[in-house]
Amino acid sequence: MNSLIILLFILGGGALLSYFAFLSKHAFGQAVVWLVAIASPVYFFTQVAVGESFSFSLGGFELALGFNHYSWVFALLIMVLSPLSLIYSTGYMKSRLRLGTFYFSFIFSIFGMMGILMSRDLVSLFIFWEIMTWASYLLVIYRGKDVEHTGIKYMIFSAVGAYSMFMAIVILNREMHSFDIATVIQNFGNMNAADQWLTGILLLIGFAVKSAVMPLHVWAPGAYTNTPTSFTAVFSGGLSKMGVYGIGLVLLNLYSHSDFSQVGIYLAWLGAITAVMATFRAVFQNDAKKLLAYSSVAQLGYIVAGIGLGTELSVFAGIYLAILHGAFKGTLFMAVGAVERQAGTTDMTKISGLIKNMPWTFFAALVAIIALAGIPPVGGFVGKWMLYEAAINSEHMFLVILIFISSTAAFLYSFRFLFGLFLGQQEEETAHIKEAPAVMVVPMILLSLFLVLMGTFPGIIFKPIAAGMAELGFQGVPWHMSVLYNMWGDSVNLTYVSITFGTVFLLGLVYITLIARKGTKHKLSTKDIHTAGEIPKPEDNLNYSLDFYKPFERVLSPLLKHKLDVYYNEFGKGLEALFNFMRRIYTGNGQTYALYVVVFLVALILLSGRIFGI
């Protein structure tokens, strides 16, 4: 049997099996989840390879599956992140209800994602896309919070996106007489300009919804927040990358030979604006999970900007950032989930100082935050650097400034996140909190070690990305294990950075630990602080957590006043009024209905000349 089918079978079958296993016994269910979490990546990395393909006919459509080098990059991300999150889930979701539904939807959405990546024709792409969407919808509403608002919003936007994609697909089929992606690329020139633009825009809308590009992003913060955190790691880290994958596919592959690829630069702008606005919103969140949700939207903005810009380096940066974002946002959501599980809340005004209670979680979060902020010597820097250089090299200077504002402001929420949860006052009420169980900590630590590794040896994943770039028309992209080059030949050697910083840091550590060692008082309570002579009473609140960036908020207030959400809601209300008006047609009165019949008949007869052309 074909290895692709077996992989899909492991995932799809695992999803169903876990549902029924949880119906019978909790332990069975756990066992199935572990089995899937181990079997699917093991099988994927040992048996599946680029170039294998599988064609079959279903319902009169010729469908084809198979990875290419481009989708392989994303598949790597999914197949690392998802199993880790699944394992994490077994700890995080303990003693929750409806686990069957949860794991079914979880694994089924992985199934959908892998399916999307191996689809070589548009019909199967769409099928898997829809499967992924509804499976993730079930998870968005899983906790039953705010179902009518957030859940429906997610579904509406997903549906709008999916259906515009659907429309593009059938129009493409009309022009090409085929759903095959390769054929579409080949025969592209035969299409007239109007159809090119129509289908291109529609496809982009479809993919942009999932990658949360403004103005289609409004579902994202709510949906990311409401999802059980162990899935949010995959949702934000992996699932949103399907949109990125699609945007790359459309701009650089399907439409690369037409004028339509010019649209990329506008998309890049949208991405950059998304990044700025979402970052500003993230800065003022008091809930750690919501903060990360907004941050995800912002980070996706960079990635889209990179892909949209369309130069060799920028696309490279975009894909790299997509992978890295999967790793660090996955870690961060896992960390927040650990806090949520152990402390019961993610509200940063309620908890603080968890570093002593949860040191491992803190470590993982710290590394991930450094990666997110793009600070060397952790992997996130590599992507940021390439993105900036690409934008500067192609002289899109205002774009650079936008991205820069966003990533500088990102330091604000980065610090807020770490400070709010892990640093600050250690209170009596939080003293009982313990570190999360190993099944949750180990995946986080693994991911964070990966991030550290990327800081010096990003070449490890440059290799598959460079291969994938060839698929997009960038042949022979140069890459080095740990030196970055931009298009003007300027470079950064990461080993120098890591060695220098590491040496100074380590020497310093020895020095600062040894000097005056005896007189150094460790483990002082955080109540024992310098307060300029005033002695704080026990009931005094010494934690600064509310209105953390108030001055910044004051500066930005004119910008933040308008929320896109409001306009959508107004639009929705307008529609509802229309629906209500429509409803009045059905008066419930028999005579009226009879009148309709007569009037309709008379009208038809009167208009018959018009209708039948005589």
Binding site: G353, I355, K356, L366, A373, G374, I375, P376, F381, W385, E389, I392, M397, F398, I401, F404, I405, T408, A409, F411, L412, F415, L418, F419, L423, G424, Q425, W488, G489, D490, S491, V492, N493, Y496, V497, T500, V504, G508, L509, I512, I515, A516, G519, T520, K521, L524, S525, T526, K527, I529, H530, T531, L542, N543, Y544, F548, Y549, P551, F552, V555
Partner: protein, 308 residues
Amino acid sequence: MDDILIKILGAIATVILAFTVGMTYGGLSRKVIARIQNRIGPPWYQNFIDNAKLLFKVSNINHGFMQHVAPLWLIGMSVTTVLFIPVLNTGGDSWYNSWFPNLNFHGDLIFLLYLMVIGSLGMALGAGQTGNPNSAIGVSRGLTQMVGFEVPWVMALVALMIQYKTTSITGLMAAAEQQGTWLAFSSPFATLAALLAMPGMFRYSPFDIVGAPAELASGPVSEFGGKYLSTMMTSGSIFAFVKLTLYVDIFFGGANNLVELVIKTFILYMYPVLWGAVSPRFRTEQAVRFFWGWPVLFGIIALIQASL
């Protein structure tokens, strides 16, 4: 082998130079401010004394691991940056010139910008762990201010990078050498934007909102003393040197020898100090609004100029 040895020795020499110059400037600035305020003020070497005193303090207090390592982030960052920027022009012919090459010859500006953040982040985390509310307030102000001044600063840099088609400091210096004038003259608006952003980096009044002595009891560092404060002071001095050298390198033609470097950097240093001596403190949002006003406008003009 010799090559590496020279590099390591040169690196050490660079750090020592940076430390000495930075500390001296710190002492001088105290003296200058005192004179302006009609006081006698401490001697110029006062900072050396203070640093030594702190270093030999017997009892030190820390609240946890992050606070313990916070100064190391700072010193790691400032030492790394000083090694990555060219201290002297390559064209200089003094005997000591070969001691100060930067490690990564194409020392990249974007890289440097990000490198310079490591310290603030480490400091912020360390301060955060102490649990002192003043620390957290100071950090939140500091980060806000950073968003403020980084915008015109980056605009200026991007304008230069695009204008001269290079992203490295050495590239910019070579460009200046080639055209024969300082970049301050060929790109006046970028220079203006960068100069207006500069006081934000040095955190003298009116931008001393982070430490805000009377208000926050010195802000982020309020829980740091003894060896920790001494390390931070060292790092701060080195970093001051880094910033000044960077400005000189980019905008004012670099320096061919140490004397020229000292003169140029000192003049440049006096600008935030003197401005600070006569200004009251801004509120945080005022500071940000200041940076997002004229400096950003100059930055935009610089960008437009660069693209022409």
